[in-house]
Amino acid sequence: MTLTRRKFLACLSAAGMGTLATGWIGGRLQAMVDEKIFPMPSGVGLERWLGTSCGLCAAGCGQRIRFVDGLPVGIAGNPLDPASGGGLCPAGFSGLWDALSEDRIRSPLARRGERGSGRWEAIGWDRALDTLSARLAALRASRTPERFVVLEGGSDPIRSRWIEHLLASFGSPNHCMTENPMGLWDAAVGRVLGTGGLSLAPDLDRAGAILSFGYELFETDANPVWQSAVWGRLRDPEKESAPPFVYAGPRLSPTGYKADLFLACRPGTEGAVALGLAYALFQESLVDDGNLGSFTSEDISGLRLWLRKKFHPEAVERITGVAPKLLFRVARSMSRNRGIALVGSSPLAGPNGYGTALAVATLNVLLGAFGREGGWVAPPRLPVEMPSRPLPDEIARAGLDRGRLDRAGSGGIDVKQAPGRFWEQLASGGPYAVDTMLITGTNLLRELPDPGRIAKVLSSIPFVAVTASRMNETAEQADLILPEATYLESWGLVISRSALPFSRVGLRQPAFGPLYDSMQFEDIWFELARRSGAFEPGDIPRNMESWVRAAAADLAGAERGIVPNSVGDGDLAAYLEAGGWKATDPAESSGSFWKRLRRSAVWTAMPAGRPSPGELFRAGRASLTGGDGKKEMEKLAGEEVAEKGENGDEVALLLTDATTLWGGRTSGTPLMLEMAAFHQSKGWETVCEINPATAESLGVADGDGGVLSNRKGTIHVRIVTTQKVPPGVAAVLRGLSGTWPKGLAAGRRGNPLELFGSRENMMTGSWILTARARLTRDDGTA
């Protein structure tokens, strides 16, 4: 081919046209591809909001569920809720994931084959309920109704009341809970004040200072959302000064980050710190002897001498590691600012939980925090009544007389539950054998220590029925699984036992009907009761919805308390009532009330009048140290209390909880697992925090895979080094499961509870969670 100018120009223009054509074709192709991949939804949708209350923990924060064209597409907080103020914890957003999870149990399942073999037969509700109720009827017939045990997680007070209510009439005293974290505190408060076990609420909004002994305000103790809201108000920049916040404990938890002072003490020695502070108060003459004297017959100067002998600053420093200077500083600040001291579930599960609770209660007494604004106040009684209990018949009375399996309250300490002793009794054969156990609201094989022993105990029980919404480790070991509806599919009323110093009742109403063939627990319970033959038809509500309506009618008739229609109504009502006016409209029909309650999903009442110590102290019977309590508290000075960490290459284990996992209750949802330990920027794995010095001495590094092992078990963890924990201590996150959700089991998800033995406090029957283990780098051989 010969190149001529013409040919060249022709080629050039051909090339140019070709490029343009390609460009144009390419552009069109692109547009086609774009449209196919992104068919953008168009058109309008009808948006609707439904108010309800979260059911993932006991706080029951108000939620609004968003519907678009009838489909639930989102969750937000309920700004009308006076406790949460429209806020939620991370778990609160995972409700839809929970309800729509693939692991939902679709229908009642009866075991085929060995327990735990995973073979199930789907059966209908009738057959399932009849199977269970036949056993209950048989127990009644053989006059041994006490052998029916209901074991629950205890995060829903109304549900607990219904269990207790019907179980008592059936004839079993064994309404047991897997854990009762604040029970020790209630018992200690009751002992110190001279009353029975008493649930008080901290009036944090008006607190002058806050001293927390491991009480995780912003994580999993009591109502973290309310507590966060309170914190926001306390730290409002418009205010002149903010109440000081002191955090005492071995580890600087995320709650501790916000503290003005971190009182670092050895694990398990919080009680000694409290008593050291008590002594400092005496030393600085900050104790109002006269006022106290009016409430107690206890020898106050004797108390002072006892404190000086056992818990003088040098002794406290030896036990806890806290410098005397700090003790005095904190004591002065707490007293001057009229502070409140709180103790959290973690120290209460320590080696001497009851002693610790008594110590903190004593400190509160000396601070004058009981019955004071900004201190511990009695939460108002809620006008939500259970129907009157049918009198137990003869069979039932006999059953009740045989006493609880866990002998709660038998140590002379007024605890309603003895979750640790429960398993001990079952393992050793107990006062009587268990025939049928119904487990609900808990995945105990993952949430309780020494799962090995628990599994063994379960295997010795003739019949185990489990209600659960999602398949889990505990359900796998059942003979009968009853599919439970999640809170988004249920009716209920949420009351808080003790977290709030004002009244709040949250309405729970279903966002959609029970998915698959599930029923909410209360409806299952009512059906069981009906079929057990122990009740008259009139004793039992038709279903939970009907009871909620009836209870709402009680609310409507209450003297005080309103259903807020908009934010600020609650404050307005409090203001009116303080001025002596009525905030409620007596002429409102119950129908209208019900409609408003369904729209706002919350009812609230501020306390009437100011709190006073006299309300709380049983005059003359307050013991301050609780009589026997002194012995318990003396143990706080003992050598065996502190869990010393440096023993060869062992680390002392501390359990930590996160609002993403709630100890295992919400940890089925990928959304939460993904941000499980977000404070360490980690997720999906069990995080084990150790001090860099410990890491160096053990030969592990930040980010390594680690293995924790002791004679109870071996688990896999992810190591994180941080200065927030003392040397010799490993803080391990609990709540992750190695098996669920199915198909997402990658990552190191050891359950630290497997390393814990089943120790329980002899006197109180509560759990003692202490353990040590060896930590090594995982080089793949473990």
Partner: protein, 230 residues
């Protein structure tokens, strides 16, 4: 036209993490399966950073929510070859998902590391496809995404105010994170309006910004009495 900005009061923030979860749910952000997440591909438009200082027991720690700063002089917008990220109306740094070619240059340029890439398509079983927020698109694999100050809520607010026959102003909408904070630590509004709460807080003594010295002019301010920025 309001210039949207945010102020986060670190003294009020309790590190509860609700904002992280709310953002994910509101914006259909992918939950990344564990294998991927452990490789470092997690996607949290709003992350809570933490930094610890000192040695036990004299240790202090700070928690700080970190999200797109909506920089007025954003390094990411300068380097995008296809104009998929740019500073648009209302001062928001926009992200056009259908145009992004996934070169990830903006991610390399962002000093705050607040842009995220869809390394894989979202997986069913990990992500809840049945209750996605219909107001927000679902991004396919291969595109970059980041916080948009809940732009879909702004769009809805615009429609509302148009029905009311007025212009949009600060206070007409808030992003999901601001709405849900129990401690009310986040304030959101019009930085152009000198009287608005955001402006006053942003000008307060306690206010500072992250990586101020880079000159990116971020529009997220942090309030802290003790100057405890990470």
């Amino acid at each position: 036209m309001p210039i949207w900005g945010m102020v986060i009061d670190l003294d009020r923030c309790t590190g509860c993490g609700g904002c992280m979860a709310a953002c994910k749910v509101e914006n259909n952000v992918q939950v990344v399966p564990p294998g991927e997440a452990l490789k470092g591909r997690g996607m949290h438009w709003l992350t809570i950073l933490s930094r610890t200082e000192g040695e036990y027991p004299d240790v202090e720690a700070v928690l700080q929510p970190d999200l797109c700063m909506m920089c007025d002089d954003a390094p990411c917008t300068k380097v995008c070859p296809v104009h998929a990220t740019y500073r648009g109306a209302y001062g928001l740094v926009a992200q056009i998902y259908p145009r992004c070619i996934g070169c990830r240059y903006c991610m390399a340029a962002c000093p705050y590391t607040v842009k995220f890439f869809n390394w894989t398509a979202g997986e069913e079983g990990v992500n809840l496809s049945s209750s996605l927020n219909p107001d927000v698109s679902v991004r396919p694999k291969g595109v970059v995404e980041k916080c948009t100050f809940c732009y879909h809520r702004l769009q809805k607010a615009k429609e509302r105010v148009r029905a009311e026959q007025r212009e949009i102003a600060g206070g007409d909408y808030v992003p999901a994170c601001v709405e849900m904070c129990p401690a009310k630590a986040m304030t959101f509004g019009d930085l152009d309006d000198g009287e608005s709460p955001v402006s006053r807080l942003a000008a307060s003594r306690r206010a500072s910004q992250l990586l101020e010295h880079l000159g990116t002019e971020p529009k997220v301010y942090y309030l802290s009495k003790r100057d405890r920025n990470v």
